[in-house]
Symmetry: C2
Subunit: 267 residues, 2 copies
Amino acid sequence: VYTIGEFSRITGLSIKALRLYHEKGILVPSAIDTESNYRYYDSHNVEQARIITHLRDLQFGLVEIADILDDVEDDCDVVAFFEKKKIEISTQIRNNLRILRDLNTIIKNEKGAIMASQSTEFQVEEKDLEPILIAGIRYKGKYSDCGKYFGKLGKSFGGVMNGNPFNLYYDGEVKETDADIESCFPIRKAKDVEGVSVRELPGGHCVSLIHKGSYETIGRSYEKVLSYIKEKGYTPQLPSREICIKGPGMIFKGNPENYLTEIQVMI
Amino acid sequence: VYTIGEFSRITGLSIKALRLYHEKGILVPSAIDTESNYRYYDSHNVEQARIITHLRDLQFGLVEIADILDDVEDDCDVVAFFEKKKIEISTQIRNNLRILRDLNTIIKNEKGAIMASQSTEFQVEEKDLEPILIAGIRYKGKYSDCGKYFGKLGKSFGGVMNGNPFNLYYDGEVKETDADIESCFPIRKAKDVEGVSVRELPGGHCVSLIHKGSYETIGRSYEKVLSYIKEKGYTPQLPSREICIKGPGMIFKGNPENYLTEIQVMI
DNA sequence: TTGCTCCTCACGTCACGTGAGGTGGC
DNA sequence: TTGCTCCTCACGTCACGTGAGGTGGC
């Protein structure tokens, strides 16, 4: 026979837990001193404790453990309980995997934005772009519609998105409304979705500038890009690209002063 | 402006939850009637509620949400919180996957045992056995040592175990102690482990009988098998196999009266 | 006397849910 | 008057942990 302290050390269950299990009738000491109320445990209790610990490790609650202990004396009878628990655990796992995906998406986005805002002084520069696989939805409307379309794309391509969203502008001029826009996501794997164009966007040489601040002031950055192109004697090509490096976040809207948009004009 | 009921319907947060968030300072109504203490919410609150809901979906507790809301106004600043949460969630997933594996193992074992005990009337019968890939540890000792060796094998081959554990007996006679035993598990995939023999156990024709009850009475079942073999004029071959269809369970010891052991003697 | 072990309350944690009991406007 | 909405306590859930305050034997 063991005192509660010894028994706690043997079983790895805390004294507080043991008192609780006693109170709930889950693990009753083999003897209790009527004078002092001291609890005394025996080797049969050790076996019970092993079972309880095992069930607790499998995420069973004390009430469930009590039920199992009452109804079951053989592993056979436990199968129904376990099937139920299996469903619970599977649900938890699925949910946690979703959370992990969401967290990763946000972290990746934000890290990209932080790096972009540190690494560059927002000068006009020339770049070579690789071809990329994209999914895009083309429509006539205004810039602010793009959030809606990014949302749509996100639903269909959530798992295979592979970089920041961007818009393609097919108009030669700036149009406030009725503009010809394609909202796109780089993706890892092609997939057929109704109303979405999945294709490879060709690479090439371009002139690029990162615009800092609200979208409303992007005109000034565009002017810089276009005057640079003129100066160098390049021929700008449509569509132009606007990559959303940092816009309103998934969680917070953030301060528009800190939004980052990269303008790319192919030449 | 909305009353708490309207706001609850808009945001999908319960009235009780909204009152709690108010109390905790996480989501404070834009106005409160000094007379009636009625809470009134506005569109800014709707945006706050969206953020809170999103964070709650990502398994953040209310205290963490309060911290984030205090410290953060841009998704950038949230990365540290999210990295931490990512570790938490990953740990949960790993743990849940382990639980799922454990549950599946027990369920599979018990279902097998239930089927075995229903499908047969425990008659001596002849069977053809397929060759199987096994991992085994051979030792000299007594039957009751095998639990220890099954435990060892379980640790090394936990992920690839593929059926019930069994013992091979290399002695022609029954020995209480100092018997030549190999404790084995069928496995799905070979793996090199120190002190463990991994190999294919050949198939063939055998005489089989399921023994019901404690191991101590298995001698009688053996006699039945051997007299059947003699009757038929077969030549028994070593080692004989004893498959533990149902023994002491992972959780409960169960009643030895219900233990099932299949004896197989190759001929 | 000190240190150790045991005991019994009672309260805290977490994110609410569930009443009870009452108010005010339609 | 009835039904609806809002309010404030206060208590329950879950599996313990954390004291407080006291006992008994070495």
